[in-house]
Symmetry: none
Subunit: 228 residues, 2 copies
DNA sequence: ATGCCATGTAAAGGTTCTGCAAAGGACCAT
DNA sequence: ATGGTCCTTTGCAGAACCTTTACATGGCAT
């Protein structure tokens, strides 16, 4: 099966060069020349990985990445001028999977893309369904709603994100740093109690069983308790 | 707890520099100065990610990687002299997750490690339960729990780490300095009785058989007794 | 036996982490 | 503006935990 790459790059010449090379390497390529189109394509069309230039005419690439990360975990490789160390570090912190300096060797680009896709393929065994059940909870991902015994929970956007992440990893411990990154889209800084508050509120809304559904794993994070 | 990095690098100075930096960044660091030790430690599976130099005195790093890949999907980041493009491409093809040219910026190394770990942590939600048995003990890595006859032991984070290390080396002696480094993530200093206390508490929680499950090897360390 | 050193463990000490209420601030619609 | 909703910050209290201290025990060499 062919992997689908989305190429977001404003330099037409470079973009077409890469597109041609990637096609030759067995990728299906989609292209966008600016951040707005790129974002739309990434969110709409189905693709497996995104190659994203940081310098774009409209929205900054990092901004595109941040927006993308708030909604999906689609793998993203950043592309930018060599030597810009700040962008590089920030890029990783925002959630990039890799970073390649321009001008880049196409072979290396392909190698890196495939390394990431390989990792994703290994670990990601099942597709996420539009609807999933966890005990008496049911989550409808396209409506961004969660039902408890068929009654919709009145959650805020952030609470939904957090609970969604916890449910996706139900039974496993989700570290605070990861939860922060995945649900809130930013790094966990020292003394930041935001997460604790959201958890506290979530617990309230989930009702009081004998033992809390969201368990605290001290020094690590939280985990949604699986029934049975 | 912390992420565990295995550093395989023959240059003592560089290795210690990186080790110190990574420790400071919240990683638990294990070190190996050659390919053979590195492979053994990596397969002993007490780490989350490996940083592997390609130029090693004994086995070539790529060979180590190939051997590793034949048995596990443990994330590996290659480290090598800048400009060696062939190695780089080959490295990816053999299954590396990333490649960093030396001399490397420690901050970038950390950023890349975390990008990979983030992706792995996210994708592993679908992974089949990692579960291992040692007599009547069963350890579930993603829940971070240890069960004794199907009853969860109420362990603290540190106790879990210690028991996990002991179990992984069940039957052989783990030196106190190593146990300290691997489970507590710091060096064993003189007059530090912390480890002894944790062992004492662990023994209590493991219940009293006729002979202790965690055996003391005087002057050396501890070892988890294998049944039969 | 004697002394030294490693170990076992109870209890105390101190640190870090967490829960939560309340207040502050940002944003949006009216 | 005004009010409402939501996210974040602040502060405190309590809990959980790790480490230290102190003393008892036991092995080992001389």
């Amino acid at each position: 099966m062919q992997n689908r790459v989305l190429l977001v790059e404003d330099d037409d010449e470079l973009r077409e060069l890469l597109a041609r090379y990637l096609s030759g390497q067995g990728f299906t390529v989609r292209e966008a020349a600016n951040g707005k189109d790129g974002l739309a394509l990434a969110l709409g069309q189905h693709c497996d990985i995104v190659v994203l230039d940081i310098m774009l005419p409209d929205i900054n690439g990092l901004e595109v990445l941040r927006e993308l990360r708030s909604q999906t975990h689609l793998p993203v490789v950043l592309l930018t001028a060599r030597g810009d160390e700040t962008d590089r570090i920030v890029g990783f912190e925002v959630g990039a999977d890799d970073y390649i300096p321009k001008p880049c060797n196409p072979r290396e680009l392909v190698a890196r893309l495939q390394a990431i896709l390989r990792r994703v393929a290994w670990d990601q065994k099942t597709e996420v369904k539009a609807e999933q059940r966890y005990g008496d909870l049911r989550i409808e991902t396209n409506h961004r709603r969660i039902y408890q015994n068929d009654e919709a929970l009145d959650l805020t956007a952030t609470e939904y994100e957090i609970l969604q992440v916890l449910l996706a990893h139900a039974g496993s411990v989700v570290r605070k740093t990861d939860l922060m990154q995945w649900a809130l889209g930013r790094r966990l800084e020292a003394f930041d109690r935001t997460l604790d508050m959201h958890i506290s509120n979530l617990r309230k809304k989930l009702g009081s069983d004998d033992s809390p559904r969201i368990e605290t794993v001290r020094g690590l994070g939280y985990s949604y308790r699986v029934s049975e």
